[in-house]
């Protein structure tokens, strides 16, 4: 006497013996795993189920005459091992022995919530699986940490929101860090069916309610995260672009305009700088020095919006190298320029040797100093646009 289950394959109803059902479902499950990245996975599986149905009909199986293990074995023999179902390029192993023995490579362990051994949501047992420790220890840590400002609850809820539950048999194997073979899956499927009949009850229901509640919360969380990403990316791109535009127009106004509103001293300094190639280099390199961080901001914004990292290795290295070169150039050339410009503008102070670090800047002279020395100009930029003149010792 054997227990018989009713199933549909390709919309035809069959009676199937328990053993045969286990074998067939684990076979189909492993095929699904092998199809992996195929886009039309559902359609292919439907096709395969229809094909299996036709084979059962050929063998005169129906609702009345149950499918046996022998039938399933024969069908599996004709259909081929699950590894045959993979895509062409995958280089899968061929025979079933090699599949279960030789290619049993270490698969990557992943963090899942372990619903089979869950007390609340399976976080503790999932973590325990991941780190290969006893779940009791993890649960104790969580419980103890509740007494410290409730940190544990907070962490638990966050993990509940972000860690996926181990749904399929393959997930569960990945959670344990084991590779999947036909026999292991069939053992597992059988065990799951037995478990299903025992884990009902009130606590199970409460857990289901909580589970769906958290699913909704998780979706909201994800949505907020995505929205934040887009807003951040947008702000960075707009802000960065505006800053680039501001930088460019500042430079062009200073360099190209009629200069009526630039103080005479500044005009002199500018003329001296523009007359030598070193001075032009100082202006250009200080421009690049400030431009690159702004470009990085725009790129970060773009990465956030596009949802992928726009900093390729070559791009990052190029930017970094150009930036460093620009900084070095700007510093050295402007120090040289200061030596050249200051004697003309302020001979007295030059002789006192006071030009090196600080230059006396009052309100009208800010723009002038910007042009002369980028180190000073940084001082000016970082200082609040104050009305108070920057007083320096010895200046008065």
């Amino acid at each position: 006497m054997k227990k018989v289950i009713n199933i549909t394959l390709g919309s035809i109803v069959f009676a199937i013996e328990q053993d045969a059902y286990d074998a067939l479902s684990s076979y189909l499950e492993e095929i699904k795993n092998n199809l992996g990245n195929n886009d039309d996975i559902k359609e292919v599986v439907d096709d395969i189920e229809s094909a299996v149905a036709e084979k059962f009909i050929d063998r005169k199986r129906s609702e009345k005459v149950a499918v046996t293990t022998a039938d399933v074995e024969k069908v599996i023999l004709e259909m081929g091992s699950p590894s045959e179902f993979g895509e062409v390029s995958e280089g899968e192993s061929v025979s079933e022995e090699t599949n279960s023995k030789e290619s049993a490579t270490e698969i990557k362990k992943r963090l899942y919530r372990d619903s089979d051994n869950a007390v609340v949501a399976g976080i503790a047992s999932g973590l325990a699986r991941y780190f290969d420790i006893d779940p009791v220890i993890v649960r104790l840590i969580f419980v103890i940490s509740i007494f410290f400002n409730g940190m544990g609850i907070f962490v638990y809820i966050i993990l509940w929101l972000v860690v996926p539950i181990a749904k399929t048999t393959a997930d569960k194997f990945a959670m344990r860090g084991e590779s999947v073979t036909l026999k292991e899956i069939s053992d597992r499927v059988r065990k799951n069916i037995e478990d299903l009949e025992t884990t009902k009850g009130l606590w199970g229901k409460i857990r289901n309610v909580l589970e769906s509640l958290f699913k909704v919360l998780g979706a909201i969380f994800k949505y907020l995260f995505v929205a934040g990403r887009y807003i951040g990316g947008f702000v960075l791109i707009i802000g960065g672009s505006l800053a680039v535009a501001g930088l460019v127009s500042t430079y062009s106004i200073v360099l190209l305009s009629e200069k009526t509103f630039i103080p005479a001293d500044a005009q002199t300094a500018l003329d001296i700088m523009l007359s030598s190639s070193l001075g032009i280099l100082a202006i250009a390199s200080s421009f690049i020095m400030m431009l690159i961080p702004l470009l990085v901001l725009v790129l970060v914004g773009g990465s956030l919006l596009a949802g992928r990292n726009m900093f390729t290795a070559t791009k990052s290295i190029t930017l970094a190298v150009v930036w460093i070169v620009a900084i070095v150039l700007a510093t050295t050339t402007s120090v040289l320029q200061v030596q050249k410009v200051l004697p003309v503008i302020d001979p007295e102070r030059f002789e006192n040797g006071l030009y090196e670090i600080h230059v006396n800047v009052d309100d009208e002279n800010i723009e002038f100093e910007t042009v002369v020395t980028p180190p000073v100009e940084e001082d000016v930029v970082s200082a609040p646009p104050s009305d108070a003149p920057i007083d320096l010792p010895m200046s008065n």
């Binding site: 390709g10 039309d40 292919v44 229809s50 094909a51 009909i57 259909m79 895509e87 192993s93 030789e102």
Partner: protein
């Protein structure tokens, strides 16, 4: 160990050859006549091109995804409804190219085989 390793590679190479090559005969079969999966399988088996059936289903779905074949459902007296596959214009164009490529491949591989057999 080294023996087993070598055997594994040969099996793998044979399987890859069959899988990569199979699209062409399947397109030929569908191109000749509107047909459904078990019929295709029967013809492939008669032509000794197929060892196991599992390979065919992902292949058909791939051909369909790239628009080389299409299918229509047809009721069946004895079993589940059947997907009747037919070739598309795009499929015909691809088939023409594959045919030309096969003919040149066939002659060059045959030349190599003859060369190899003579040298032994």
């Amino acid at each position: 160990m080294s023996d087993a390793q070598q055997k594994y590679n040969v099996e793998n190479a044979k399987s890859q050859m069959r899988k990569g090559f199979l699209e062409f005969p399947v397109l030929l079969i569908i191109g000749a006549k509107v047909t459904y999966a078990p019929d295709i399988l029967k013809q492939l088996k008669e032509a000794n091109l197929l060892v196991v059936e599992g390979t065919l289903y992902p292949l058909l779905s791939r051909l369909k995804r790239f628009g080389l074949v299409e299918y229509q459902w047809q009721e069946s007296k004895s079993g589940p409804p059947r997907k009747m596959y037919s070739i598309t214009d795009q499929g015909k164009a691809v088939l023409k190219q594959l045919e030309a490529s096969w003919k040149s491949l066939d002659s060059s591989v045959n030349t190599l085989i003859k060369h190899y057999e003579k040298s032994n």
